[in-house]
């Protein structure tokens, strides 16, 4: 059953995702440099109060699934000169992620 206080996890490990390319003014937890980049869900970390709401003294609902998302360094940094398989993991809330088609 849908719960208004808690968003259900919509991704599973291995899913290809893209970070939303939006730049709102206000408190967000998604680093600027990762927006618009494509990665893969590594794991679900848990479901937590939404910090973008908590930051304004509101209840943080619905709680949002938080994922560890793995990106190739060369996807994140166009001039990256390290190994082709090097990755970076970033924890990102579900409402910042879209299915990468």
């Amino acid at each position: 059953m849908a719960n208004a206080d808690r968003a259900d996890p919509g991704f599973v490990p291995g899913d290809a995702v893209a970070v939303r390319t939006i730049y709102p003014l206000g408190h967000v937890r998604t680093p600027y440099y990762i927006r618009g980049k494509r990665g893969v869900i590594e794991r679900l970390c848990g479901v937590y109060g939404n910090p973008e709401e908590l930051a304004y003294a509101r209840p943080g609902l619905p709680k949002q699934p938080l994922y560890r998302v793995r990106f190739l360094q060369r996807e994140v940094w166009p001039e990256y000169r390290g190994g082709a398989d090097d990755t970076v993991d970033i924890e990102i809330f579900q409402h910042w992620l879209e299915t990468d088609r």
Partner: protein, 104 residues
Amino acid sequence: MTINYRGIHDMGGLPAGKVEAAEHDYALWEKRVDALMVLLSKKGHLTVDELRRNIETLGAEAYDKMSYYERWIYAITQTLIQRGIITIDELGTGIEKAQSHGKR
């Protein structure tokens, strides 16, 4: 016109010089700021998310010049004002009292 908003704190990937990893002893006031934050958080008077938001809205110059615990005490006082726990006048009076205490 499109503005891609990027906060002063959100600096991943920007040139920022060398990271200096240095330990230092904390001043008494810094320990007090830390204790104040823990107590207020435990009593439900603020969340770390509100503190982060307040630190992030410091102007670029203040953000760079203020020390770590100066930013934290700024964020704590702003959060308490926003929540109606203290007034700006109480804050100003408190600072005045602390300053005159320091001069004695």
